[in-house]
Symmetry: C2
Subunit: 355 residues, 2 copies
Amino acid sequence: MSILFRQYSSGSCQFYRHMSVVASILRYNEFGDPAKVLQIHQETMPDPGTGEVLIKTISAPINPADINTIQGKYPVRPEFPAVGGNECVGEVVAVGEQVTRLAIGDRIVPFASGLGTWRSHALYNETNLMKVPANIGIAEAATITVNPCTAYRMLKDFVNLKAGDSVIQNGANSACGQAIIQLCRAWGIHCVGIVRDRPEINLLRNYLKDLGAAEILTEEELRTTKIFKDGIFKKPKLALNCVGGKNALEISRHLDNHGIMVTYGGMSREPVTVPTASLIFKDLQFSGFWMTRWTKDNAKSSKRSEMFNELFGLIEKNAFKAPAHEMISFTDYVTAVTNALSIQGFVGKKFLFKF
Amino acid sequence: MSILFRQYSSGSCQFYRHMSVVASILRYNEFGDPAKVLQIHQETMPDPGTGEVLIKTISAPINPADINTIQGKYPVRPEFPAVGGNECVGEVVAVGEQVTRLAIGDRIVPFASGLGTWRSHALYNETNLMKVPANIGIAEAATITVNPCTAYRMLKDFVNLKAGDSVIQNGANSACGQAIIQLCRAWGIHCVGIVRDRPEINLLRNYLKDLGAAEILTEEELRTTKIFKDGIFKKPKLALNCVGGKNALEISRHLDNHGIMVTYGGMSREPVTVPTASLIFKDLQFSGFWMTRWTKDNAKSSKRSEMFNELFGLIEKNAFKAPAHEMISFTDYVTAVTNALSIQGFVGKKFLFKF
């Protein structure tokens, strides 16, 4: 199908041409093993409608929640046929009528979740997109809306942290964990990270300390550490938990009185265990955080642009980078979704589709 | 020993007389089984000093925390020799110099915890005492500073409850549970109470419904109830937990999104188990409450007198009564402390010393 694009040249001159855009879309028609239920579907894209823009996807990451959604294990259950993915960075290649905030050539990321980003091209309403400064790296832009935002909100919205305060987190090598470490460094907060022991533990320790972690301990070391008792670091006011089970329990024991544990994942598949005495006598609080809900609740809040501006600013001055990752061809999606949930090497590695 | 009392007669005439006051004091010199480590000690009381008043105790309850303190299982560890008890109602029988707020004949309750109330007479600084209206019953006054205040604060300080909202609680037959039920009734809140099944379940159900419970369910009934799903009651915004373990987990499943579970006891001796999904996707929050800390943190807050005035007002209009209880002679303390932690009959019964 041939459609009419209004295209801007490098000057102020404007011209039109006819071209056909066929999108490759990674879809699924039932819940199940992503390697089996996902299939590439070809679709000729229609003209952008009023308020819409046509996006050419540059890169899109594979997040654990994307896999869980396809497995049918996530509370958000899309209608079929569904398109995988929630994050991407793309470039505007055509704009419809009454599009005022975006122009051809702009880099964008989706400002909403559930758009289905595993596709070479997409039509989005411009209100669902946010323009990204041109000097932001591809991997940083493609992965900014989930993990860095989750890290940012958890560090900002539960406890009033000041420079010199401590935060403790498990899963410190996860994509979100790496974002937490870097934001703590930027804000002068001592981030103590917990990871599972592994053969390459010292490589991982160095990698995370280079990112800005104040200390990296294995689960075994956590049980006997005296870094808080001995005053090397203040007792943490905030614990960030993406593991659950015994690991979360051990972490909660180090929290200061009135401290808060925020849970945003449950990699051990075990619940959080809370001793009665820590609730009553230490006044600990246990809460959860879900970026999808925050984004929905704050769709019109200025907090969103403040957050993205601060994150872009940190990226621009090299104080914040994407998690360890590997670019993988979109057509190699079976490899990508199969490996996305397993530990790759000494640090959890994120796969990003390239198109 | 003979001491000089300034005593007020019924008129404005003031006179002095000499008398000896020998206090019976239930003391302990080591942690352990209360029936074994407690002993009655006789002590002649000195004159009230500046700012002090001499109290003749009328009644003092035996609370679970009193027993736990003597066992050495409570985070507050008194110095030896220690005196048991934290609550009482007494009568002022002598006042020292510069006592301005209290006069002989006034009924008082302690305004601080840890005073050691299991004694026939005591000298207290008047700032540690609160005057009780004369028409408040002995049992209501003797038990007002712990359970009714705990119930009041938990219902006021965590969630903004309005008439028509629901609250769910376990241990609904406990002293605090009975206070929660009555405050909910007074404020138009539907209180659903959970109790363990027992032979006299219907007697207990009727007793608690008469107090104002909207519904009383056994733990088994809780698992299958549809009173919230079917809209008979709104989904609870607040859960009050003094049991822990599976019971608390079941209760948390009925909480509305963004609901809060407040833990103030752990009778099952099992921790609170929190599924990761309920933290992340339901945004549940798990907190604790300890009246001792609240009292310390709010020693000079007007919230305290507002709370007591409201409680006294409810008692005066028969909208709030003491928990099921039995008066027991102070000399029968071994029986009292032995039975204080076990279930007595169809409803948990509180023992109150009479002097």
